[in-house]
């Protein structure tokens, strides 16, 4: 007579979770979107408390060990600020002149087709993928692929939208791909993230790239509007014989200290 197999309570629970896990592996990834939304809604207040307490104290503690660098950086920034103020004055004059000329020629006033929505960071779900969870979602008009900026610079794009929160893939992530344009040389390319930093690839060979020129979003394809600043050209990394040029990009944004983000919504 066959003996009855006894399964302990622990093994039953383990078996139950193993079955759930195996079934889950074969289901589409968006099936967990609703529970994920509720999870992050629950976590939101905790995330806010930690961001406004530990998130402010810990970077300060780290800075104490880098005082010499910070003093040097401060001196450079003061000089840069003075330089930028004089440039701003000149630009304002040019802008004013431009508007007058447009009026004379009968052009309609340029409308800003973009809107920004402020969003707070709730947390980060993975240390391997450079992504964040923000507290704005479908209910706030957020669309997949929208640009996310911080301090005026592009920091990421919306990769998943849920009802009340969304995932942001940072531009430093290996899966990030942004169409860009080099401001002075007008060369276009694709910017990728990754362990070697931000890199713009596929720039045509006939373009003369200048070190330090700005990199902006080109607005080609997707939800990202053109003209959002990303960073500056650091150096040319392509080798002889390659059919495209490649440059390293430096962003002034410290991606480990992001606080308030702005999601750019296009009104087209």
């Amino acid at each position: 007579m066959p003996s009855k197999i006894k399964i302990s309570r622990r093994n039953k629970i383990v078996l139950f979770f193993v079955v759930i896990a195996i079934v889950g592996l074969f289901l589409p990834i968006n099936i967990t979107s609703r529970p994920r939304n509720y999870f992050w809604q629950t976590v939101k207040p905790v995330g806010w408390v930690f961001r406004s307490s530990v998130g402010r104290v810990f970077p300060f503690v780290k800075d104490i060990f880098n005082l010499r660098r910070i003093v040097k950086q401060n001196t450079n920034l003061i000089n840069e600020n003075l330089e930028l103020q004089s440039k701003l004055a000149k630009t304002s004059e040019v802008e004013y002149e431009n508007e007058i000329l447009k009026k004379e020629l009968g052009f309609a006033k340029t409308k800003d087709l973009t809107q920004t929505t402020p969003a707070a960071i709730i947390g980060q779900s993975s240390g391997y993928l450079k992504s964040l969870v923000i507290d704005k979602g479908e209910n706030d008009g957020i669309v997949k692929g929208s640009a996310v900026i911080s301090q005026g610079y592009l920091v990421g794009t919306i990769s998943e939208v849920r009802k009340n929160n969304s995932d942001v893939t940072l531009i430093t992530d290996v899966n990030s791909l942004i169409p860009v344009i080099l401001q002075n040389s007008r060369g276009t390319g694709l910017m990728r993230g990754g362990i070697s930093g931000l890199v713009v690839e596929d720039i045509p060979l006939n373009i003369t790239i200048q070190k330090g020129e700005n990199i902006l979003t080109s607005g080609l394809g997707g939800q990202i509007p053109q003209g959002i600043l990303i960073g500056t050209v650091n150096d040319l990394t392509s080798k002889e014989g390659e059919i495209f040029q490649k440059v390293n990009v430096t962003s002034p944004v410290d991606f480990s200290r992001l606080e308030v983000l702005f999601v750019v919504k296009t009104n087209d």
Partner: protein, 160 residues
């Protein structure tokens, strides 16, 4: 029953801390993995019932909230417990801090390698930083867990 609910609540808290607090403690872009470290310590301290509960609940919550396919973390965490149990049975005669540090480093590297493979991420030195960060946090967690189990804080709740 109350004991199990309390344990699930503690696991839920650890998962929330992992997603909200730990990224704020990042050094060189990496932060400690509280879930993996806690699981390894529970397995090494031979609290297998709790380790299995931790693997199932924490893995489930992490799969639910994270960007990976559902089920990956549950399966990986369960296989970690079985691997640690095998190692204890075959090779480890005494559990001390050194053993914990070494095991945490090895399993962090394996976990990192496994996840990098899934998300097509090239291997880099941040994995080494993470394993060191995990090993340091494991020392603190080891004393916390030992204190909890020695004082039987969780077990006494059942008797109330």
């Amino acid at each position: 029953m109350i004991n199990t609910i309390l344990k699930i609540f503690v696991i839920f808290l650890i998962v929330i801390l992992q997603f909200t607090l730990m990224p704020l403690l990042a050094i060189k872009g990496v932060w400690p993995n509280l879930i993996l470290t806690s699981l390894l310590i529970l397995s090494l301290l031979e609290h297998s019932e709790d380790a299995f509960l931790f693997a199932c609940v924490a893995g489930f919550l992490q799969d639910l909230a994270g960007p990976l396919k559902f089920g990956i973390n549950i399966l990986f965490y369960l296989s970690i417990i079985y691997s640690v149990q095998y190692l204890i049975k075959k090779y480890i005669s005494e559990i001390n801090l050194l053993v914990i540090v070494v095991i945490v480093i090895i399993f962090t590297l394996i976990y990192g390698f496994f996840i990098s493979l899934i998300v097509h991420l090239p291997l880099n030195q941040s994995l080494i930083y993470e394993s060191i960060y995990n090993a340091i946090s494991a020392i603190g967690l080891f004393f916390i867990f030992r204190l909890v189990y020695q004082n039987k804080l969780l077990i006494t709740v059942d008797k109330i």
